[in-house]
C-alpha cells in the first residue's frame, strides 16, 4: 500500500519510470507464451535436467574409456 501511495504521490518525473516499467510488463504479457518458452529454452541450455536425453558419446571416446 505504501508503495502505491509513494508511486501516486511521487513527482511527475516518476511517471517516466513507472510508465516504462508498465510498458515492459505489458509487452511481456502480450508475448507471454513466447517469453515463457524462451525462458525455459535458456534455462535448459544452462541447466540440463535428468529428463533431457543424454547426448550420444563419440565412438572414439568410448573406446578410450574402455581401453
Amino acid at each position: 500500500m505504501q508503495v502505491l501511495l509513494a508511486y501516486y504521490g511521487g513527482p511527475d518525473q516518476i511517471m517516466t519510470v513507472t510508465s516504462g516499467f508498465a510498458g515492459v510488463v505489458g509487452l511481456l504479457l502480450i508475448f507471454w507464451n513466447k517469453v515463457v518458452a524462451a525462458f525455459f529454452r535458456v534455462v535448459r541450455i544452462f541447466r540440463p535436467t535428468a529428463s533431457d536425453p543424454v547426448p550420444a558419446k563419440d565412438e572414439n571416446e568410448t573406446l578410450k574409456e574402455t581401453s
Partner: protein, 807 residues
C-alpha cells in the same frame, strides 16, 4: 427469453442459443463495472489532485451514472460487432475476443483515471493483460461465465439505483429547500446578477470604447447606475467569484488559490456566508448558471450559496466528453480530417467548439469538452425562472464565458463589422456576442412580464491583458486592464437612471449592497460599504480605496512552462495593489513595487515608483494597505508597557514577541536612533516554516504614521526585472517596507534603514510588524525582532522599546 450460460466445461457455451449471447452479457458486466469504478475514480482523483485543478477536466456526481452508461454503450457496440463478425467468419473465437476487448478496455479505462502513467504505457499494459487473460479464457469459459451470470443482476441493480438516485437526490434536496423558504417581504424584486467572465471595462462602449460592442449593456447603463471605476478584488475567476458572492477579499478567506478539498463532501470550502444564503433566508429561490465550469462550480465550494446549480453536463456531448472514453474520442478520433469533414457535412461544426477547459500538457491529455455558450446559459436560466411569476422571487447568478480565451464567440456567430486581424478584434467579437445574449435574455424577461420587477446587475469578474506589458490572458498580474471591470445596476423606477459614479469602488461590495438595499431583515453583515449610498447621493470625486490581490501561483503547472514574463508576475510571488482616486500601487512580495497614475495613464505604461511625486503616495498607499490587512481601521494611539530593551546602549537588540491568544499581528516598536545611523532590522518567525508561519511584513514609519523612504532592500530594490540583480544595491532609496528576505522563505523579513534627520538628538521611528495575509495568528505564535547598527556607522543610543498596544 431467459438467458443462461452453460455450467459444464464439456459443452461449449458458444454453441448453444443462449451461449451466443455471452458476448452481450460480458459486455454488460464489464461496461457497468468499468463505468462505476471510473465514475468514482474521476470524482476521487480530481479531489486528490486539487493542486492541478486548473489543468484538468472536471466532473460532478452525475458522472456516477454517465460513465457506466457510456461504457455500457461502448462495450455493447463491440459485442454486437463480434457477434456480427462471428456470422461472417464462423471460426471467430468470439468468447476469447470478447474477453480480450473487455479486459483491455476496462484496464485501460481504470489506468487512465489516476493519470499517473503515460497513455502508451496504459495501452501496452491493458493490451498485455487482455491478451494474457484471453489466451487462458478458452479453457475457463464456463468458470468465467458462471460468476458473470450470477453477479450481473447485482451490477445492473447498482447501476439502476445510481441512475435514479443521483438525479433524484438533487431534485429532492431542491424541493425540500424550496419548501423550507420563508415568505419573501412584499416588494422584493427578482435579482439577476450577470457576471461576464474576463470583461474589461474599457472594451464596453458604455465606458467610452470607440466600438459599439455592447448596445444592450449600454441601454441598461443609460437606464441605471454605472460605476466608472469599479475594481475587482483579483484578476482571475475563482477568488473573484468568491469576493463577488461573499464580499471578502481573498486574503480574508484564505482563498487566493483553489483550496485543499475533502475526499468526500465534508465541510465548506468557502467559509464566509454567501449572498445567496442571505437571500434564501429572506424568501428568495436561488440558482447559479455557470459556463466557467473550472472555477465557478458547485464542487469548488459555491454550492451552499444556491439551491439550484447548473454547471457540467449541459448536453450529451458534454457528458460523453468528460468520461474517459469520451476524452479519448475527442483526443484521437475527432481531430481527423475525415471526421471533421463528416461533421461539416452534417452541419454539426458546433461539436468542435471546444472549451478552454482541458487537461494540460503536463498531463498529456489534450482533450476538451464542448464550450457552454451564452445561448445555453440563457436557455437554462429562462427554463428555471419559468414562464410565470412563482411564489418566491428569484436570485440568479449567471456566468457568461464567451469573452474568455479562445476569443471570438461561437464558430457559427456572424462576426461584427470590424477587422478580425488583431487579438483585440476577436476579443471584441466575444464581447458583442455576450451582449447579444444579454439583450435576448432581457427581451424574454420583458415578454414574460418580469422586466419591471427585476434588479439586474452586470459585473465583470476580472479583466484581460491584450498585449499590454507583454502579457496576455489574466491572472499573472494586477495591472489596471486586469482589475478595472464594468459594474452596472438596473431597476427602472427604483434605481435612478443615467447616474455615473466616478468614485473608486470594489466590486466585492456587491453582497453588502444587495443585502442592505433589498427588503428584509439583514441576517449577516457583509464586509464593505453599500454602493446604494453612492447612487443615492453621488460624490463628485473619485476618492475611494480598493484592494486587489493575487496569491503566489505555485500550482498552475501549465504556466510554469511558459517563457519568462517581462514584468513581475504571480509566478515569482504574491502581489497586492491599492487603488485610490488617482494612484495604483502594486506591491510584489519578491520584486518590489510599481506605482502608476491610472487616471492619466490607464495603460500603466509609466512606472512612477522612483519619481519625486510618487514617494509620498507610496507611503500613504502602503499604510492604507497594511491597515487593511491588519483588520481595517486599527488604532495607533498609546504605548503600553514601553520597556527600554537597550539600557546599556548595545548595538545589537533582540526582542521576542509571543502571542498569548489568537490575534492579527500588527505590532509597533519604537526605535530611538541618532540621525544618520544605518540600522538593520530583521523579523524571524520562531516556530515554523510553511503554511502556518507568520508571513511577516516589516515597515518603518515616522511619528505621523508615514512610511519612510530611507531604506534599502538588497533583495528587491527598485523593481529589477525577473532574473536581473538590483541596480543600486547600496542606495538607501526604497520605501521602508519589506516582506520576504528571499523567495521561498516567507517567515523572515529584513530591511536596512538610514535614520533620517540631522543633529545629535535621537529620532523616533516606529517599526511595524504585520502579516502579509492579514490572518489571525494562533496563540503561541512567536517571532523575534532584531535591530543592529551598521558596523561602519556605529551610533550610540539606539534603543528598541516595547510593543505598542493597539486597539
Amino acid at each position: 427469453m431467459g438467458l443462461h450460460l452453460t455450467g459444464t466445461r464439456h459443452s461449449s457455451t458458444s454453441e448453444t442459443s443462449s451461449g451466443r449471447l455471452v458476448p452481450l452479457l460480458l459486455a454488460a458486466w464489464f461496461g457497468i463495472a468499468a463505468g462505476l469504478v471510473e465514475g468514482l475514480g474521476l470524482l476521487l482523483f480530481q479531489r486528490i489532485d486539487w493542486r492541478q485543478w486548473g489543468v484538468t477536466i472536471h466532473v460532478s456526481t452525475p458522472i456516477l451514472w454517465i460513465s457506466p452508461l457510456v461504457d455500457l454503450a461502448v462495450f455493447l457496440s463491440i459485442a454486437a460487432g463480434l457477434m456480427l463478425g462471428s456470422r461472417l467468419w464462423r471460426g471467430l473465437p468470439v468468447f476469447q475476443a470478447a474477453v480480450f476487448f473487455f479486459v483491455s478496455l476496462t484496464v485501460y479505462d481504470w489506468l487512465l483515471v489516476p493519470r499517473r502513467l503515460y497513455h502508451s504505457a496504459c495501452f501496452l499494459l491493458a493490451v498485455g493483460l487482455g491478451t494474457f487473460l484471453s489466451q487462458r479464457a478458452k479453457r475457463y469459459e464456463a468458470p468465467i461465465a458462471g460468476p458473470v451470470r450470477r453477479s450481473l443482476p447485482v451490477l445492473v441493480t447498482i447501476f439502476v439505483a445510481v441512475l435514479i438516485a443521483v438525479p433524484c437526490s438533487r431534485r429532492f434536496q431542491e424541493h425540500r429547500a424550496l419548501a423550507a423558504l420563508p415568505a419573501a417581504k412584499p416588494g422584493s424584486p427578482n435579482v439577476l446578477v450577470i457576471i461576464v467572465d474576463t470583461l474589461r471595462a474599457d472594451h464596453v462602449s458604455a465606458y467610452g470604447y470607440s466600438r459599439e460592442t455592447t448596445p444592450n449593456i449600454d441601454r441598461l447603463a443609460r437606464e441605471g447606475v454605472l460605476f466608472e471605476n469599479a475594481v475587482s478584488a483579483t484578476s482571475w475567476t475563482f477568488p473573484a467569484h468568491v469576493s463577488l458572492l461573499t464580499g471578502s477579499y481573498p486574503f480574508e478567506d484564505g482563498l487566493g488559490r483553489v483550496p485543499p478539498m475533502p475526499l468526500w463532501n465534508g465541510g465548506r470550502l468557502i467559509k464566509s456566508p454567501m449572498i445567496g444564503e442571505e437571500l434564501e433566508r429572506r424568501g428568495y429561490r436561488t440558482a447559479a448558471f455557470s459556463a466557467n465550469r473550472v472555477y465557478f462550480d458547485r464542487d469548488l465550494g459555491f454550492g451552499p450559496g444556491f439551491i439550484h446549480f447548473e454547471d457540467y453536463f449541459f448536453s450529451p456531448a458534454d457528458m460523453v466528453s468528460r468520461t474517459v472514453f469520451g476524452r479519448e474520442f475527442v483526443r484521437w478520433i475527432l481531430p481527423h480530417n475525415v471526421v471533421l469533414r463528416l461533421l461539416a457535412w452534417l452541419h454539426v461544426g458546433g461539436a468542435l467548439d471546444f472549451d478552454a477547459e482541458r487537461s494540460g500538457e503536463a498531463w498529456m491529455v489534450k482533450s476538451h469538452p464542448p464550450r457552454k455558450r451564452g445561448e445555453e446559459i440563457d436557455r437554462e436560466v429562462l427554463h428555471w425562472i419559468g414562464n410565470s411569476p412563482q411564489a418566491h422571487p428569484f436570485f440568479a447568478v449567471l456566468n457568461y464565458f464567451d469573452v474568455h480565451f479562445p476569443y471570438g464567440g461561437p464558430p457559427s456567430y456572424s462576426k461584427p463589422a470590424w477587422g478580425q486581424d488583431q487579438r483585440g478584434d476577436r476579443y471584441d467579437d466575444g464581447v458583442k456576442y455576450v451582449d447579444d445574449c444579454i439583450g435576448r435574455l432581457m427581451a424574454e424577461l420583458t415578454r414574460r412580464g418580469m422586466g419591471q420587477n427585476t434588479l439586474v446587475v452586470i459585473v465583470g469578474d476580472h479583466g484581460e491583458m491584450l498585449g499590454e506589458h507583454g502579457l496576455t490572458g489574466h491572472g499573472k498580474s494586477l495591472y489596471w486592464p486586469l482589475i478595472h471591470v464594468p459594474l452596472i445596476f438596473w431597476y427602472p423606477g427604483h434605481i435612478p437612471a443615467g447616474v455615473r459614479v466616478a468614485r473608486v469602488v470594489s466590486s466585492s461590495f456587491l453582497p453588502v449592497t444587495l443585502s442592505s438595499w433589498l427588503p428584509g431583515k439583514v441576517q449577516w453583515r457583509f464586509p464593505g460599504d453599500s454602493l446604494a449610498n453612492l447612487w443615492a447621493s453621488p460624490l463628485p470625486d473619485r476618492d475611494g480605496t480598493a484592494l486587489a490581490e493575487l496569491s503566489y501561483n505555485a500550482l498552475d503547472l501549465d504556466l510554469k512552462h511558459e517563457e519568462q514574463f517581462p514584468v513581475p508576475t504571480d509566478l515569482q510571488g504574491a502581489m497586492r495593489s491599492v487603488i485610490s482616486g488617482r494612484w495604483h500601487l502594486i506591491m510584489h512580495k519578491q520584486l518590489g513595487n510599481q506605482l502608476y497614475d491610472w487616471q492619466s495613464d490607464p495603460s500603466e505604461a509609466h512606472n512612477l515608483i522612483n519619481a519625486p511625486q510618487g514617494e509620498e503616495i507610496v507611503g500613504k498607499l502602503t499604510n492604507d494597505l497594511l491597515d487593511l490587512l491588519a483588520g481595517r481601521q486599527m488604532e495607533k494611539e498609546g504605548i503600553e508597557q514601553a520597556v527600554n530593551l537597550n539600557p546599556n546602549g548595545r548595538t545589537h537588540i533582540e526582542y521576542v514577541r509571543s502571542l498569548t491568544e489568537p490575534a492579527r499581528v500588527n505590532d509597533y516598536y519604537l526605535l530611538h536612533a541618532s540621525p544618520g545611523a544605518a540600522v538593520t532590522l530583521e523579523v524571524h518567525d520562531l516556530k515554523s516554516e510553511g503554511a502556518g508561519a507568520l508571513d511577516s511584513v516589516l515597515a518603518v514609519e515616522d511619528a505621523q504614521g508615514r512610511i519612510l523612504l530611507t531604506c534599502r532592500n538588497t533583495e528587491d530594490d527598485h523593481l529589477p526585472l525577473p532574473g536581473t540583480s538590483d541596480a543600486t544595491p547600496e542606495a538607501f532609496d526604497d520605501a521602508c517596507v519589506n516582506d520576504d528576505i528571499r523567495p521561498g522563505v516567507q517567515s523572515a523579513s529584513r530591511l536596512q534603514v538610514r535614520v533620517p534627520g540631522r543633529g545629535e538628538a535621537p529620532a523616533d521611528l516606529y517599526i511595524r510588524v504585520s502579516d502579509w495575509n492579514g490572518r489571525f495568528a494562533a496563540a503561541g505564535t512567536s517571532y523575534q525582532i532584531t535591530a543592529d547598527e551598521a558596523v561602519e556607522a556605529p551610533v550610540a543610543g539606539t534603543t528598541l522599546m516595547g510593543q505598542k498596544k493597539l486597539n
